[in-house]
């Protein structure tokens, strides 16, 4: 069993990645990712990890360099946030189409403008359709566990897709939390060496990133889509294996007190912990409230979402990003479309909250429940609401 330690989450993520025998990392600093970048460079500087550390001149080059390195068969890692992620955007679908098992931490932060360095999910949402496996974590322990597991998932021969692990910036990356850090021996046993099937090496020349017109492009897209959908099986296998080894079991969708609940809330990321306290408070008052936490964003866990949500009377979907001029937040739109065909489904409400680091207290979550419970129209509003935003 690993050691129980207290540490800043960003530093712990770098420590965890340091246990994964990476060959190469390329990073460009941005708040609040920078502690991951800095600590990784410390690990290299102190000889604690044997990897090439490329201090690129931009995030565009960070993603380009990890694509090149991953193409050679090197286990490659990067981390970014917000503007950095937006700057990488062009390359994300290329990395997944080339089936390169790159792993990346995203310290989620609001996207400009106006410039803001604090947490929300407006950076990851525009990357949704890039063909990456996308995972959200709630606390430091999950950030460590998911970072290590991401390599095993990405490099699995039936997956071969890049993975991003979303860690709420500041609200999670900069917290000092207690957690259990697996030992080097444990990670060595868990994580096999990466065996690529084609690499950039003269021993067997290959062409990567060819040009494909209408006669092949659609097939390549379909193959990528199928690969991403099929990756769920491997994700579940890897999470189960982890659960057996370390006692921490992960599900694509986690639930809290939903069995008899009339009204459910759905969250993604670190806000789940605060929402959970709100559930306890409401339960103490006799309100049958429950919480659903979406951990796996891509591939979207359609069956699991339906199974846990369809029996509730009311459902509050919370979003930390906006789809400007759209029907609702990105999480809301997906959840609603997942439930659309169900004969029995809850009335769905959408709140957009916590933008640009706006504080969310327990009372904000209880407030959402109270407002939804007070609604007796028995009709679904065809719009969303901003929570805690001045008019």
């Amino acid at each position: 069993m690993g050691k129980r330690i207290g540490m800043e989450v960003a530093v712990a993520v770098a420590e965890a990645v340091g246990l994964c025998n990476i060959d190469m990392a390329a990073v460009y600093p941005i708040t609040p990712q920078s502690h991951i970048a800095e600590h990784l460079s410390d690990l290299v500087a102190d000889g604690r990890i044997d990897a090439e550390f490329v201090t690129v001149e931009s995030e565009h080059s960070a993603m380009s360099a990890v694509i090149g390195a991953s193409g050679t068969g090197a286990r490659s890692y990067t981390a970014t946030s917000s503007q950095g992620l937006m700057y990488m955007h062009e390359l994300l679908p290329i990395a997944s189409a080339m089936r390169l098992p790159i792993c990346m931490a995203i310290a989620n932060r609001a996207v400009s403008g106006p410039l803001n360095i604090l947490n929300d999910h407006t950076d990851i949402m525009p990357q949704r359709d890039s063909g990456w496996i996308s995972i959200f974590v709630e606390n430091g322990q999950e950030a460590i566990d998911m970072s290590i597991m991401s390599f095993k998932i990405a490099e699995h021969k039936d997956v071969m897709l890049p993975v991003n692990v979303n860690i709420d910036g500041f609200q999670l990356t900069h917290m000092v939390e207690p957690f259990e850090m697996p030992t080097q021996e444990e990670v060595n046993q868990f994580l096999p060496p990466f065996v690529p099937h084609a690499t950039l090496h003269p021993s067997k020349p290959v062409t990567m990133g060819a040009f494909a017109m209408s006669d092949y492009f659609a097939e390549i897209m379909k193959a990528k889509d199928e690969a991403l959908k099929n990756s769920k099986k491997v994700i579940l296998d890897v999470w189960n294996e982890w659960g057996k080894l370390f006692g921490r079991k992960y599900q694509p969708v986690e639930t809290y007190k939903i069995e008899d609940a009339d009204v459910l809330m759905l969250t993604m990321g670190s806000m789940g912990e605060t929402a959970q306290i709100a559930i306890d408070e409401l339960r103490a008052k006799g309100v049958k409230a429950g919480l659903v936490k979406l951990r796996l964003w891509r591939p979207f866990p359609l069956a699991e979402i339906k199974a846990v949500l369809k029996n509730a009377k009311k459902l509050i979907v919370t979003d930390r990003a906006i789809s400007f001029g759209g029907p609702g937040g990105p999480v809301f739109s997906e959840v609603k479309s997942a439930l659309y065909a169900e004969a029995k489904r809850p009335l769905i409400y959408n709140y957009i909250y916590g933008l640009g680091g706006r504080d969310m207290a327990v009372k904000d979550f209880t407030g959402m429940f109270e407002k939804v419970l007070a609604d007796t129209t028995n009709q679904e509003a065809d719009t969303y609401e901003f929570w805690g935003v001045r008019e």
Binding site: V54, E57, G68, G73, T207, M208, F211
Partner: protein, 314 residues
């Protein structure tokens, strides 16, 4: 004796016979750029990995499911060939050190057109050169964005007509001087910078081989004739490259650790620039005054180069 004069005699013995860029690619007939790429591959040999930018050379060589490449080759995007190459270099270094791949030395090469190099990929290239990766970057400069239809770049010469800087009633076409990219690379303090042109194949190959022998970053700026974009007949590519050198429009030189050396191909006396302009449709609209203005600039630029070669000699 100028070795190029006896090309037929020497070439078969001096040039690697193996084709690493195979025929059957889709370049226009008479393309000088693809000739340059082919010669580059001959100079580099098999132990090479190439990262290519988007552009003519990428499109014509890699139509899925076929490929013209006999060496490992990757294309990712337009502006990042140098960063992809940095990552390849880092990846191969790590894997070799850890014994995960065989121990042979592999040269990593980034390549892109003038647009990919001098405009959109400028930052990525600057970063890669500054970081000192063991790689060669080759700019295949055909003086415009040819792949997308002959739009101007910062490598387009003054007075050339392109589709986004066309000659018109009140315009002479390109109104800016060609960016001096080799000089910017010299300013990075890298060990080796050279200019080359496939009309002088042995000089080009020798420079590529020198770059290959250097452990560290090097930059080759290769003048790449494009009959399609220059609006000249397809059989003129080689002579156009010669004229660019013989008029001083594109001087051949190399810079080793900051020391300049003019290549032996440089003539003692230049032909007038109009001889080079005349066969090309892109310059056809230029007036005598405009040509004179460009001629003056060519003279000054060459003089500066000669001075550097005199005082900063190898």
């Amino acid at each position: 004796m100028n070795i190029v004069e006896n090309f037929d005699l020497f070439a078969p013995r001096l040039i690697n016979k193996k084709e690493l860029l195979s025929p059957g690619h889709r370049a226009c007939s008479g393309c000088g750029e693809v000739l340059a790429v082919r010669l580059m591959c001959k100079a580099l040999g098999e132990n090479t990995v190439i990262a290519s930018a988007t552009g003519c050379m990428e499109i014509i060589s890699s139509m899925f499911p076929t490929t013209a490449w006999e060496v490992p080759w990757i294309h990712v995007a337009f502006e990042n060939a140098a960063s992809v190459a940095s990552g390849i270099e880092a990846g191969l270094k790590a894997l070799r050190k850890k014994g995960k791949i065989d121990d042979r030395y592999v040269k990593v090469v980034g390549m892109g057109g003038d647009g990919a190099t001098m405009d959109i990929g400028f930052q990525a290239l600057s970063g890669a050169m500054e970081r000192g990766h063991d790689m060669i970057y080759v700019c295949f400069d055909n003086e415009a964005y040819m792949n997308t239809g002959i739009q101007r770049s910062s490598g387009t010469p003054m007075g050339a007509s392109t589709t986004t800087a066309p000659a018109g009633k009140v315009s002479m076409g390109q109104k800016t001087w060609k960016k001096n990219m080799p000089e910017i690379m010299v300013a990075h303090g890298i060990p080796y910078v050279a200019t080359a042109c496939p009309s002088y194949p042995l000089d080009f190959i020798r420079k590529m081989e020198k770059a290959k022998s250097i452990k560290g970053p090097s930059y080759i700026h290769c003048f790449s004739m494009c009959p399609t974009g220059w609006r000249s007949p397809s059989h003129t590519a080689i002579s156009m490259g010669r004229l660019a050198v013989e008029t001083g429009a594109f001087p051949l030189y190399e810079v080793e650790n900051g020391h300049y050396h003019l290549s032996s191909e440089m003539p003692k006396k230049f032909k007038p620039i109009k001889d080079y302009f005349k066969p090309q449709g892109r310059f056809r609209h230029l007036t005598a005054d405009e040509i004179e203005m460009i001629q003056e600039r060519v003279n000054i630029e060459y003089k500066k180069l000669v001075e550097k070669a005199k005082y900063l000699k190898i």
